[in-house]
């Protein structure tokens, strides 16, 4: 029994059917962690991107160093730091929040690069034309650069959303009951791992296929030349 749901071991089919709702509980946690982690990555990545393009080196370099550090160390280390080290300094976060934060921090390094690359890919001539027309730099950013960068940025961010979803099982090591963790516990208690693990794999496959389809749809349907302004 798990989440108040009994499993039926009378046959393999009955077992699979009975644990499905249990796995769905885990799936909800997986999706929650994905969404919260992605949201943190989006915001933190924006902050990092802004710092990395700051006019002074004093701000730029530490931001670059932090990005590099995050990217070059395993997610698990960052997770352990947040989960085991922070409490030593009196800061204890719930497991779920710790996990989502670790995902968000890890992926902010990547999203910051997506933002930067997207903005830099807008032709230099666009900034020059805006300058020649005396448009304020804030207006240039919001109405000239950003509308042209967004269609490049969004599909790339979508790919990281899929990656985050696939990294969520790492959170099981800090007791977050996401889908894979739930499957393993079912296996531990019933002695049968094949069915729950296969089902998790299948569910992941379905989710990533849907997500990839969505990313591809965005990629082909976002206006290449920018969000249009009439």
């Amino acid at each position: 029994m798990f989440f108040g749901i009994e499993w039926d071991t009378s046959s393999q089919w009955a077992f699979a059917v009975s644990i499905f709702p249990i796995l769905l509980h885990g799936l909800v946690v997986t999706l929650q962690a994905t969404v919260v982690g992605f949201f943190i990555a989006l915001i933190l990545g924006l902050v990092l991107a802004a710092l990395k393009s700051a006019p002074t080196r004093l701000i730029r370099w530490p931001a670059k160093l932090v990005t590099e550090f995050i990217r070059d160390t395993p997610l698990l280390i960052q997770l352990f730091f947040l989960f085991y080290v922070l409490p030593e300094f009196g800061l204890t976060l719930p497991a779920f929040l710790t996990g989502a934060l670790a995902l968000g921090v890890q992926y902010s390094a990547y999203t910051s690069e997506v933002y930067r690359a997207g903005l830099e890919a807008v032709a230099k001539g666009q900034r020059e034309a805006a300058r020649a027309l005396n448009l304020a730099s804030s207006r240039t950013f919001t109405h000239i650069i950003l509308p042209q960068a967004v269609p490049r940025i969004i599909p790339a961010l979508g790919n990281y959303l899929v990656s985050i979803m696939k990294d969520v099982p790492v959170l099981s090591v800090v007791t977050v009951l996401e889908m894979l963790g739930v499957a393993k516990i079912i296996g531990d208690r019933t002695g049968g791992y094949l069915i729950p693990l296969s089902m998790v794999g299948g569910l992941y496959l379905v989710m990533t296929i849907i997500a990839s389809f969505g990313v591809r749809y965005l990629d082909t349907h976002l206006p290449k030349r920018g969000l249009s302004l009439k």
């Binding site: 020059e128 300058r131 005396n134 969000l227």
Partner: protein, 265 residues
């Protein structure tokens, strides 16, 4: 120098301007003047600093030394008592409003309709009402012969049409000086004429000052009051078009004109 340059009211003046890209000296203590209403064409081999002159005026490139004046005011500097201090962004904005630029690659805003390309800056920068900006935009489109393209996006237009929009966009800001940076170099040969025709019409407006960088020598000869031949970051020779094209004095000018006018020899 011809007579026009002796009236001492240059709208543009370069005073010993130096521009370097790394070790490469692009402008070598350049002295250069353009009078109000004058149409000047800069010719010369690539890398001679022609476009850099325009880009410095449009404040797209900073200078390393010397002073540039526009309408008698230093462009890249501000007067502080008797000395000159680097210009603030506010000063640059104020100075920039006198200049309009047409780019080789058009640089139209691809996500905006043709008309929006023409109204964006007047509305945002000059504070013109949207209705007023549209009206003026349509007038300019009429001038460049593109009223029927107002609602289209730049990519739906030919290169020649795009560049005509580029010219209209710059004019929408009512500049005193128009800078043309190789406006036809990116165009297919059959589209060059329509753009040159628009520029020719503009050249007939007496109070508009025009500074043009081009490889279209016959056109330059027709529209210019003065031709400046640039070589290695300086003006090697300048004068009336008929003098420069028929009786150049400098060997470098002769060699350059021979190469561009009779490329098959």
């Amino acid at each position: 120098m011809n007579d026009a340059t002796k009236t001492r009211d240059p709208i543009i003046k370069f005073d010993k301007v130096v521009k370097r890209f790394g070790d490469h000296v692009v402008l070598d203590e350049l002295d250069f003047e353009v009078q109000r209403g004058e149409k000047v064409t800069i010719i010369g081999p690539s890398g001679s600093g022609k476009s850099t002159v325009l880009r410095i005026l449009m404040t797209l490139e900073e200078i390393n030394d010397g002073v540039v004046y526009v309408g008698g005011e230093p462009l890249w500097h501000q007067r502080k008592g008797d000395s000159l201090a680097p210009a603030s962004e506010q000063h640059l904005r104020q100075m920039r409003s006198q200049l309009g630029m047409v780019f080789q690659q058009f640089n139209l805003f691809p996500h905006m309709t043709v008309l929006r390309n023409l109204t964006e800056a007047p509305v945002q920068v000059l504070g013109v009402s949207k209705a007023e900006a549209r009206k003026r935009g349509m007038e300019l489109l009429e001038m460049v012969g593109l009223t029927d393209q107002a609602g289209k996006y730049p990519h739906q237009l030919s290169g020649g049409q795009q560049q005509r929009v580029g010219i209209a966009r710059a004019l929408a800001m009512r500049p005193k000086v128009m800078l043309f940076d190789e406006p036809t170099s990116a165009l297919d040969p059959e589209l060059v004429g329509e753009v040159l025709n628009v520029i020719r019409t503009l050249a007939d407006e007496h109070d508009l000052t025009m500074l043009l960088v081009t490889h279209e020598m016959h056109f330059a000869r027709q529209v210019s009051d003065r031709i400046c031949f640039f070589d290695q970051g300086r003006i090697k020779e300048q004068g009336k078009p008929e003098d420069i094209f028929t009786a150049p004095k400098e060997e470098r000018t002769k060699a350059f004109l021979k190469a561009v006018l009779d490329p098959d020899d």
